[in-house]
Subunit: 683 residues, 2 copies
């Protein structure tokens, strides 16, 4: 991105060692930038031996990048000068903008206006600046000088940035770009994602400015370049409480998480995990399969690691063939374990690691290897590290855990210098490998190769309704029907003759009768629902009972609804939501009155492939029941998939809809799908 920067102006450069303007200039000089530096300061003649200008207007030469580090109230005047000079990039480090409240917000809007119609692209304000190691540009006031490699980190938090650089220094991880984006008044994560050309791109994001656009760009980028995201904010929205009001389910975190993952992003939940994933993705090739071989000099940790591998539900312990076992037996002592996990036992020197690794890495079924070492009395730790590093030639992921403290420190350093992802604890190796494998599945999956579309192809229904924020029970019914989403057979009942008539025409010869009222929503609790009415005598009795209750409770807006009654079957929840930032989502899971407790709802962004929908269904407990029941029951899963696709069309074409809940949708053993109740919330 910054390859053509040959000259940099620092507006607010300084000779006072405590000031950011000084630190920034010093960092740039010390980092070895070999273009021109123009310190701007009204009082000084020279800063760090470089001639100083009192204004950017005094510079006649071309400037490619300007950095502003002066108090907020003076910033916009300088920005106007920068824009006038058509400087390509501008970094505003100064704080005091929208993050400080109303007054700062006014300043920031003014800044945005100045930039909007210019040829200048702005990073910040309120940021730490950026570091580009390949071009030797450090216009940040971070203390660290990272070495060159191909990991980029885009951070919305300055503190996470400094922590990241400090971590990278300690772990010998080279950096390509570090960009602190601050308030994102102009340049945002999507702009950078599209342009950065690193081996690995990682983000700390507190919000995503243009959700849909970020997903689209991310889907393309992730096909070749993995992107890791740490996105806090899980607990702020009630993630646990699943209610029929899907707003709170879909809202925020789950929704963002689902859409990022579906488009190939790798999510880190914690800071430690983020760092572990960063080094793994940076150093490792992708595994060809989920088969893992464990090579260890200690039994206990290998058992723990086996537990962890198995609990991923995607990785598994690879089978070691008879041939490989024979090779192992030739080189390892009799007491070794020749089955996976392969135990080269406590007195192993590096040669045993060599033979064991060489053998298992030749196995096709071994997609990756986890190496465990504990510092036993004989262990030649550094040699072991070098031996492991030499196995990179096999081009398979090798993740290493050297368990301990002081004794293993140098071994870990050797591994990192040789770009082998290494950890203190095997759990970090397993989790990182698992996410690497999941990413490899995204890359391999045909679905990922398709474009992300906002529309469902091939669906045509001439009779579709698009109601504009109307609200009535029957409108919902008609709207759904027009999208091939028919509610169960039902009618408003005027009188007993009408009810008898509905009953006589009913398919199942059994009906439910309900009192519908806006004020009395807990109808079951008040006895306002009578189910399984299956003969004329009961019909009359039930109707009279409900009429009685209506006058007893004095329900002014009461209407009586009759529905076909379905006995037995499974209660599903199917729903959808429109998010203004991320687009439409569909939901599937366990429904009925216990949906809230069972908490078995999955979410999927804008699906256009049956396979995607099927996977969403399969990931729920209810989905496993309807897909994998080996009994004589024939649940109509294809019908459910079609229903979800129709619902998605409806959501996309009716952006005024916030949420739709179909709950319960009853699936019967004979293939029936009955939508018993529906509810639409407007934006």
């Amino acid at each position: 991105m910054f390859d053509n920067i040959k000259s940099i102006a620092i507006i607010g450069s300084s000779n006072s060692t405590g000031k950011v303007g000084y630190l920034l200039t010093k960092n740039l000089v010390d980092f070895g930038f070999n273009g021109k530096i123009f310190p701007i300061n009204t009082k000084e003649n020279k800063i760090l031996g470089i001639n100083t200008f009192s204004s950017i207007d005094d510079i006649s030469e071309d400037i490619d990048l300007a950095v502003i580090v002066i108090p907020a109230k003076f910033v916009n005047d300088e920005v106007r000068k920068v824009v006038k000079k058509k400087i390509k990039y501008l970094v505003v480090i100064s704080a005091g903008f929208k993050e400080t409240g109303e007054e700062g917000g006014v300043l920031e809007n003014e800044l945005i206006d100045i930039i909007k119609n210019s040829s200048t692209k702005l990073i910040g304000p309120n940021c730490l600046g950026f570091i580009d190691t390949r071009n030797k540009i450090n216009v940040s006031f971070a203390k660290n000088f990272p070495t060159v490699d191909s990991l980029s980190f885009i951070s919305q938090s300055g503190a996470m940035g400094t922590a990241f650089l400090d971590w990278a220094e300690k772990e010998n991880i080279g950096v390509d770009l570090f960009i602190s984006v601050g308030n994102k008044a102009d340049i945002d994560e999507e702009y950078l994602l599209k342009r950065i050309n690193s081996k690995l791109i990682s983000f700390y994001l507190e919000d995503i400015k243009f959700g849909k656009k970020f997903l689209e760009t991310g889907r393309n980028v992730n096909r070749k370049t993995p992107c890791i995201v740490i996105k806090p904010g899980e607990s702020t929205k009630a993630q646990g409480a699943i209610s029929s009001h899907t707003g709170s389910i879909a809202g925020d975190y789950k929704l963002i998480k689902s859409s990022l993952e579906k488009n190939g992003f790798t999510l880190a939940r914690t800071i430690g995990e983020f760092f572990n994933l960063a080094k793994t993705f940076l150093f490792s090739p992708l595994p060809k399969n989920g088969g893992v071989a464990i090579v260890t000099n200690a039994g206990g940790p290998a058992v723990i690691t086996t537990d962890l591998v198995m609990s991923t539900n995607s990785l598994y312990l690879a089978n070691i063939s008879k041939d490989t076992e024979d090779i192992l037996k030739k080189h390892l002592p009799r007491e070794s374990n020749f089955h996976n996990p392969i135990d080269v036992i406590g007195d192993a020197l590096s040669d045993r690691y060599y033979y064991a690794l060489d053998a298992v890495l030749n196995e096709d079924e071994v997609g990756s290897v986890i190496v465990i070492l504990t510092p036993q009395i004989m262990t030649d730790i550094d040699n072991c590290a070098k031996t492991i590093a030499s196995m990179k030639k096999y081009n398979k992921p090798i993740l290493v855990s050297f368990i301990g403290g002081t004794a293993v420190e140098n071994g870990l350093t050797i591994l990192h210098k040789n770009k082998v992802p290494a950890f203190n604890f095997p759990e970090d190796a397993v989790n990182s490998l698992n996410k690497l494998y999941k990413y490899s599945m995204f890359v391999d999956n045909e679905v990922s190769k398709s474009e992300l579309k906002s529309n469902v192809d091939g669906y045509t229904n001439e009779n579709r309704l698009t109601i504009k924020k109307e609200d009535s029970y029957i409108d919902t019914y008609e709207l759904l029907k027009s999208y091939n989403i028919p509610l169960i057979n039902q009618e408003w009942i005027e009188n007993i003759e009408h009810l008898k008539n509905f009953f006589d025409n009913s398919e199942k010869k059994s009906v439910s009768i309900k009192v519908i009222s806006k004020t009395y929503t807990h109808k079951s609790d008040l006895g306002l629902v009578i189910n399984n009415v299956d003969n004329e005598e009961k019909l009359i009795e039930s109707f009279n009972k409900l009429e009685g209750l209506i006058s007893h409770y004095n329900i002014k807006d009461a209407k009586i609804l009759a529905q076909e009654y379905i006995s037995g079957g499974l209660d599903l929840f199917i729903g959808g939501t429109n998010d203004t930032n991320f687009g439409s989502f569909v939901l599937f899971g366990t429904g009925g009155i216990f949906a809230e407790t069972i908490n078995d709802i999955n979410i999927l962004s804008s699906p256009n492939e049956n396979e995607d929908i099927k996977r969403m269904i399969e990931e729920t407990k209810m989905g496993k029941i309807i897909l994998h029941n080996n009994r004589s029951k024939k649940y109509n899963t294809d019908g459910v998939i079609e229903l979800i696709k129709s619902l998605n069309s409806l959501l996309i074409e009716n952006p005024w809809i916030k949420n739709i809940d179909l709950n319960p949708v009853i699936l019967t053993e004979d293939g029936g799908i009955y939508i018993v109740d529906a509810r639409i919330d407007k934006v």
Copy 2:
């Protein structure tokens, strides 16, 4: 334990620097043991300048501890001499016993026989030895010399032991005892648990020798001294697949985990977690409540930490009172965040940490504090560490995360030297604090103060049956009935008149009719179950249909069973299992045909308190439904608790039972409890 050891003999001591006998003697000398050392070696005169004996029999003085490091085949002869001299403790380091197979097993059995009737207590064989820092005894061949403190570690894996010592050295964690127990031929974890007097006792256990005894001792010890256990083996048994065959549910890991936790043990799932818990429990007082205050110099990591605190479901963010807020406002800059999490912002020096910590630690609602620091340009990291350490005077847990690498390293060291649990990442602080809080709840809980009993008090039923491994459907029925666990009203049906009679006497006037056969167990699939038969016409039709199917499939052992039919209600699973090592367990969860998919079963060891059972119920999804439904339904939870207690009595009094499944147990809205099916598996 080893306070009175004044003299130590090392059988197999050596002058060859590569030999374990040499290393062991050198370790003992270098560690500063101030008693007498007797190296035994047939060839040498002096080892490390100490006079050597050619046999232990040549020593006339008292010996308190003997250590054997000679090849396995010579060990037992030496052990006989040790036993004869009535030496109190013996450590057999030598490998080559039962871990190597049959031959070694014979040797080990011989060793056990020699020790059994002696006054000598044996550690090992096949172990690393032990280290007692207070008595300056190091009879291990570990490389590390730990400093004195009050953390003991008992390890069944030598490798985990060396990793532990290496970790302790790096993290400045002092050790009391490290004991490598090896094959546990004599001394086991329960023996040590009873005798070790450390502030914190931790274990790595691959198996538990005497389960029930270990639980009983542990329950007593945990009331004052926390014990941490890492116990691998989760995946080896099918933990996921919940089937109606409870053996596989209860089997092993879940069962052990449940019984350890119930008796106050703190479980670590991974090695990293184990180390984190060890330093937290060693350094921290117990929290008085679950309220957490977060003090940070960075917003992003504080958001992540808030997410993690909330997701524990037990810790919560404490409210900061108006008074404290006023104090904070006096000392912190305007831009700070005065609500929890308290953000002292990026340019904070240690004084801001001082004021913020001092203020929140004075709040009653703050049970503990998590401090977060990122290395910003101004941050005086070492001073911050010292300031945080000075807050120990409040006697509340303070867990610290210094995020980064090189820059924060020394700060972390300062914290550890001052016995403040400190981590790189906030997730480790949150998880450790959560387990510390859970342990404090065990200590405070009245239930923990009661004895662990194998029997249910106050339950008397004169008519109890104890059948001895008999097997028939009706026996199960009778046995259960005799424990007040009545199956739903049912009868074997001989003919249609019999069936009509059963129907006429049925409570609900609706019955199920089933064909029971040992060979046709999937009766639903074959249509061998007809439910909800509610009039005489259907009765005849169903009976004839089943008779037809019996002859169609030619089911030789067919019998027809009629049962009361319950429509609606919730399907529960209630079960129990007897474990030969750990005693009896009861199970509760979601039942019915989907139990396997829903995977919602909880387990509890030998309950004798209603509160325990209620908690077990509440921890399942089904439990939440029956306990917390706010509708008009009255599920009989007390009845379920009584049923579980009865089942527990039955298990204890009939040790021949391996598993009992009651599935489904139907709970109806009107308070009914109907056990529809029961199955007993024998040991």
